[in-house]
């Protein structure tokens, strides 16, 4: 195996390990920020890992009458998330799986995860599961146009919808980052990130009221190691969304060449970016309340508008 190829593989391995180990820490960081703003002490950065360790030791339970779908869903969701992590440019743009890192392919893979959890929600046979499933998948469906149109706006200038080349192009021409098209696309995609990650004001990840849940309601029946997989999966999902957003709109520091130095820098920059974005997201949640479910389409229509504006302004403002 030749040098560069070997290093690109190493890069991907680092990337996957970094995300898997770091995702729970990101969740912890967001909780911690929030706790501090509320005047609490907070459970500390290690807590999610402690939770996962304990859940892995506990007994999994399948509801009566459920099928293999229920037990397979967390595995499918997690593996699709891991595939995305291995493909997309987080610390390096030179993944051997680069051909999976097409914008639409990644969006669809994210959707595969949501669909798996949605089916699991139905499969539990409880009213909450069905409710959460219906809401999750509806939000995901309405977010789809924004994702693709905003991606369209980004890819118009590059002439490719491959995430790696999007990032590389943005690195080559930094002035592009400050163009109205990019900024509008950034706004649109941020809204989608919030919706897809199930954060406020779309969904409240910390709620205990089943009737207000969107994503949580599909996971109510999971226990033990299944639950661990589900929580790890959603943490990784959040990391993917934030990391991707960060790299598309603040492309600096991502390794385009696979030298050890570049990789190290990539890791460092990635950690900083995701930490800052996560802290911002967590802090912003102190200031908002959850919206009614039927105001969420308003939010998504707005993000779609931003997407269209981004595309059209990439004609006349660039």
């Amino acid at each position: 195996m030749s040098g560069p190829a070997l290093w690109s593989v190493v890069g991907v391995v680092i990337q996957v390990l970094l995300v898997v180990l770091g995702a729970p820490l990101l969740v912890a960081l967001m909780r911690q920020v929030r706790a501090r703003l509320e005047g609490r002490a907070g459970a500390g950065l290690g807590q999610p890992w402690r939770d996962l360790r304990k859940q892995l030791r506990k007994e999994p339970i399948a509801p009566d009458g459920s099928t293999v779908v229920f037990t397979a869903a967390p595995v499918v969701a997690l593996s699709s998330a891991l595939l995305i992590v291995a493909a997309i440019p987080l610390i390096t743009t030179t993944s051997p799986l680069d051909d999976v890192a097409d914008l639409y392919a990644v969006v669809s893979l994210l959707l595969v995860g949501s669909v798996a959890m949605a089916l699991a929600g139905i499969d539990t046979g409880s009213a909450f599961g069905g409710m959460g499933s219906s809401r999750t998948i509806t939000v995901a469906a309405l977010a789809e146009p924004t994702l693709l149109v905003a991606g369209f706006a980004l890819s118009v200038r590059v002439g490719s919808s491959n995430l790696g080349s999007l990032v590389e192009h943005a690195q080559r021409a930094p002035s592009v980052v400050l163009s109205p098209a990019t900024l509008l696309a950034a706004a649109a995609l941020w809204i989608v990130v919030v919706a897809e990650a199930g954060r406020l004001p779309v969904d409240n990840p910390a709620t205990h009221l089943e009737l207000t849940m969107i994503h949580e309601a599909t996971t109510l029946e999971y226990a033990g190691r299944d639950l661990a997989l589900v929580e790890l999966g959603s943490a990784i999902r959040l990391t993917i969304l934030l990391g991707l957003w960060g790299n598309l709109f603040l492309p600096w520091g991502v390794a385009t060449t696979v030298t050890p130095g570049a990789l190290a820098l990539g890791v460092l920059v990635m950690v900083v970016k995701v930490a800052v974005l996560g802290a911002a997201l967590g802090a912003s949640e102190v200031f908002m309340a959850k919206w009614r479910l039927f105001r969420v389409p308003e939010l998504l229509a707005g993000s779609f508008l931003f997407g269209v504006l981004a595309v059209s302004s990439s004609f006349f403002l660039a």
């Binding site: 030791r57 007994e59 009221l209 849940m213 029946e221 226990a223």
Partner: protein, 160 residues
């Protein structure tokens, strides 16, 4: 928004320093390893205990800092936190909640009513103490118990 910011600045940190607690006499739950999820069941309480639970999880005592979290579903829970004497209508739900939890699991009877029906003993609607319905592992005396008591009991379980 600006108002909230100003408030945050003014209030600052209200959580009191962690209470010294001896984890020597704890119920030996290595396996929870500093993380317990709690499902709370009100089996017929007068809500005095609920008030104390709320303040225990509130910013001042901040029970969450010891890795204790309230959860919505017993499937996610390690500890069943039961308050009040078990009324007739709550016998079945309480049992169901216990069965719904994944092993290993612990039951905490919080407050005198939960331990021995307290002042409600012999009431026509009262079925009995929590112990009569599900196996109790930890009892927190008091009517209602102070947040410190609740915290030290739960820390005993979480081991943090």
């Amino acid at each position: 928004m600006r108002g909230i910011l100003r408030k945050i600045q003014k209030v600052g940190r209200v959580a009191e320093p962690a209470l010294p607690v001896d984890l020597s006499g704890r119920q030996g739950d290595e396996m929870f390893g500093g993380s317990i999820q709690v499902r709370h069941v009100d089996a017929g309480s007068c809500n005095g205990c609920e008030v104390e639970i709320t303040s225990a999880f509130g910013p001042v005592y901040d029970l969450e800092r010891y890795g204790v979290r309230l959860v919505a579903s017993p499937r996610h829970a390690d500890v069943l936190l039961v308050t009040g004497p078990v009324t007739r209508n709550m016998v079945d739900p309480l049992r169901k909640a216990y069965e719904a939890m994944p092993a290993p699991k612990r039951v905490v009877a919080l407050g005198d009513c939960a331990r021995n029906c307290g002042v409600f003993a012999g009431g026509y609607g009262v079925h009995g103490a929590v112990g009569d319905v599900v196996p109790v592992d930890v009892e927190i005396p008091g009517c209602p118990p102070e947040p410190e008591a609740i915290i030290s009991a739960l820390r005993g379980l979480s081991g943090r």
